[in-house]
Amino acid sequence: MNGTRAATAATWMLGGLVGLCIATMLGLLFFTLGSGLASLRPGTLERITLADGSSRLAEVVADDGNALLLRTSETRRLGEGYERVRRGDVVARRAPVDAFMIGLGDGRRVLGIGDDAALAAAVGSVGALARVVEVLRPNALGAFEGAGIFLRRLARFVATPPDASNLAGGVLPALVGTVTLVLLMSVLVMPFGVAAAVYLHERRGVGARIVRTAIDTLAGVPAIVYGVLGLGLFVHGIGAGIDRWFYADRLPVPTFGGGGLLWAALTLALLTLPVVVVSVEQGLARIPSSLRDGSLALGATREETLWRLLLPAARPAVLTGFVLAIARAAGSVAPLMLVGMVKLAPASPLDGAFPYLHPSRQFMHLGFAVYDAALASPDAIRGVPRAYACAMLLVCVVIVLNLSAILLRNRLRDRYRALES
């Protein structure tokens, strides 16, 4: 009996550890999403009276138990409104209903209290010098209005470019850069990935074993090593060569000899190759062999069987590989830091001028925007919320992609079950 109780106890501990796992994961996701959303939510404006009699109209940005971080009105410069006050000094906190906030194009916020006439006057005087982006009374928002403001801020975040300091405005170039990068990478990786998977499916001999070991090894290589290869071999090696032969008149300004979209796409294609190969090969392996036999029995060559029957039947697996490769590429920052990703690209790699896609240009990436906003900015207070907003966007994209991959895989499994029964 003692053994049984000990066994049960151990089982409980095991279950508890798994619960800890689940909790950590859920906590991480919700924390990231919540922080990201919080940075876009309109916050309450409070009138804070201090012990020395002065008062501030501000938004409470952070509270670490000992002190409050306030953001008061910023009339001249972005970031000048941040102020720390000790908790002990706070005498009273009220949220006046008629407080208003004017958001400007460069991220500054002008705060004030007053009725609509005062608000209009304030907007007029501020708007003469700067672009007014939004005007609202945060303390008087109903639930729907608040949601509307939030959605509009989200839309602006996604659809507009950032300002010069890269600390305010939207992340559109990062999104465009990420999407362009990922698409260019897929064009490079899918043909080779499918070819390698087909090779592994069809052949059994020494060659197949070598390729399989190669794929397994490639899967274990750290991402940064790919970045080094990209920088050393592609950029400084092949890129410099291309510059010498085709763009010599532009030297010493590099065209392909510096980091850019093309080399980044190539590097990521190598990085995500194992993902595609594994996914497609698994898809092919699960097709019952009776189908293959049936096609061969009708007089099809092995290649015709493959291209006309097996690969179309494995289409969900090919799609899964594609989606997983994209998700992996969207989340990889380390290799891209070496091959062409920059914090503020001078020109977008995708624009209206022929040939519309400029693979030699540098680009911005959502993942790097997270890193940059969090650590590389001189002012952590402004950078971190922005970093969380970018992170939230990135996590949403990646989760959606992975969920669709899982759904695709389930559909594939059901389809094969129908075939086998």
């Binding site: 996701l29 069809e202 890193y371």
Partner: protein, 361 residues
């Protein structure tokens, strides 16, 4: 039922057939060559990495020698981060794998696996962000709390299991049913720590190996889980059924039959987890402080091989000694991870052969 003859011309009487047979044969040959070429590009890509690195290092004309001391510090830093990380990833990963393969209710497992895949999908930048900006300040003043929780959680769970646990059909849902207890323990621990006036253990810097270890461990957890679970599933069902038939509880079947059989697979999972942690860059870059210090103290910062490469390479001139040193660091990183990977693959293959030798015949 009468048979209707074909109204079109018989196929076989045409030259169309003879010509098409030959054309299809040669088209098949060409396609086969193209596929082999595509697959060989994979080999090309794989070999390009070490060949390029070695060639570039050998061809470097930098006058200074390789800074082995600095490289050693980086290697030690990576090791320290990895050690802290696997202290988190291995227990949690193995526990989850053992539970999922052996105890878990099927409906829960249908959610557990995808959930861990989602965790694996989260970009490491985001993990680094959470660790460096939100978790670091808390950790700085709550190191003792963290340690206490790490010890108390398993201990209290064991005690609770001993006191209240009865083997039941619903053991498969244990993670969920034990969750309230978990939350209670954590909440109590946090409440206790808030009563303390000053932190007992103060780390030298908020960016330290412990912080890195926690974030990195969470990042490596899904990999350890999936490899370990695969290994545990390799054990044939008949063996566990035999143990049950002899009166073993699920836990006893796990420890006496499954773990000894699949132990090598768990070892392989550990190797792969170590390789993953060793090669990870973003989390370490954001949460370690990037200070090249040696030693074993988990509460001071570190600088890993990957972080050094990521920080140094964009600005290094290709002909310089710094560049060459960074290439050597890359080689060290590559060699370590590839060796670990190959070892793990070898172990797994041997496990597969051993456990399914009977079935294959």
């Amino acid at each position: 039922m009468p048979v209707n003859p074909v109204t079109c011309d018989p196929l076989s009487s045409s030259d169309l057939l003879r010509a098409s047979a030959r054309r299809r044969y040669w088209r098949g040959r060409v396609q086969r060559v193209l596929v082999a070429a595509g697959a060989s590009f994979v080999l090309l890509g794989l070999f390009a990495i070490p060949v390029y690195l070695v060639a570039a290092v050998a061809a470097s004309r930098a006058s200074a020698g390789v800074d082995w001391a600095h490289l050693g510090l980086l290697f030690a830093g990576s090791l320290r981060a990895t050690a802290c990380a696997i202290a988190v990833a291995l227990p949690l990963g193995f526990a989850t794998a053992m539970f999922s393969a052996h105890f878990c209710a099927p409906r829960l497992r249908a959610w557990l696996k995808p959930a861990l895949e989602m965790l694996e999908a989260v970009p490491t930048v985001v993990l680094g962000l959470v660790a460096a900006t939100s978790f670091a300040p808390w950790l700085k003043s709550h190191v003792a709390t963290l340690l206490a929780l790490l010890v108390a959680l398993p201990a209290l769970l064991l005690a609770a299991g001993f006191a209240f646990g009865r083997p039941s059909r619903h053991d498969g849902w244990l993670p969920l049913s034990v969750l309230p207890l978990l939350c209670a323990i954590v909440a109590f621990g946090l409440w206790l720590s808030s009563r303390a006036q000053a932190p007992w253990i103060v780390p030298a810097s908020p960016w330290n190996a412990t912080l890195v270890g926690l974030a990195l461990g969470v990042a490596a957890l899904p990999l350890v889980f999936s490899v370990a679970e695969d290994a545990l599933f390799l054990v044939p069902r008949e063996q566990t059924q035999a143990a049950f038939a002899l009166g073993a509880t699920r836990w006893q079947a796990l420890t006496t039959v499954v773990l000894p059989a699949a132990g090598a697979g768990l070892f392989a999972a550990a190797l792969l987890g170590i390789a993953r942690c060793f090669g990870e860059t973003m989390i370490v870059l954001m949460a370690s402080g990037n200070t090249a210090i040696g030693g074993f103290d988990p509460l001071i910062g570190l600088r890993s091989l990957g972080a050094d490469i990521a920080l140094g390479m964009p600005d290094a001139a290709p002909a310089s000694a710094v560049w060459r040193d960074l290439l050597v660091a890359t080689l060290a990183l590559l060699a370590s991870t590839v060796l670990l990977s190959l070892a793990a693959g070898f172990v797994r293959a041997r496990l597969q052969r051993r456990l399914h030798a009977g079935a294959a015949a």
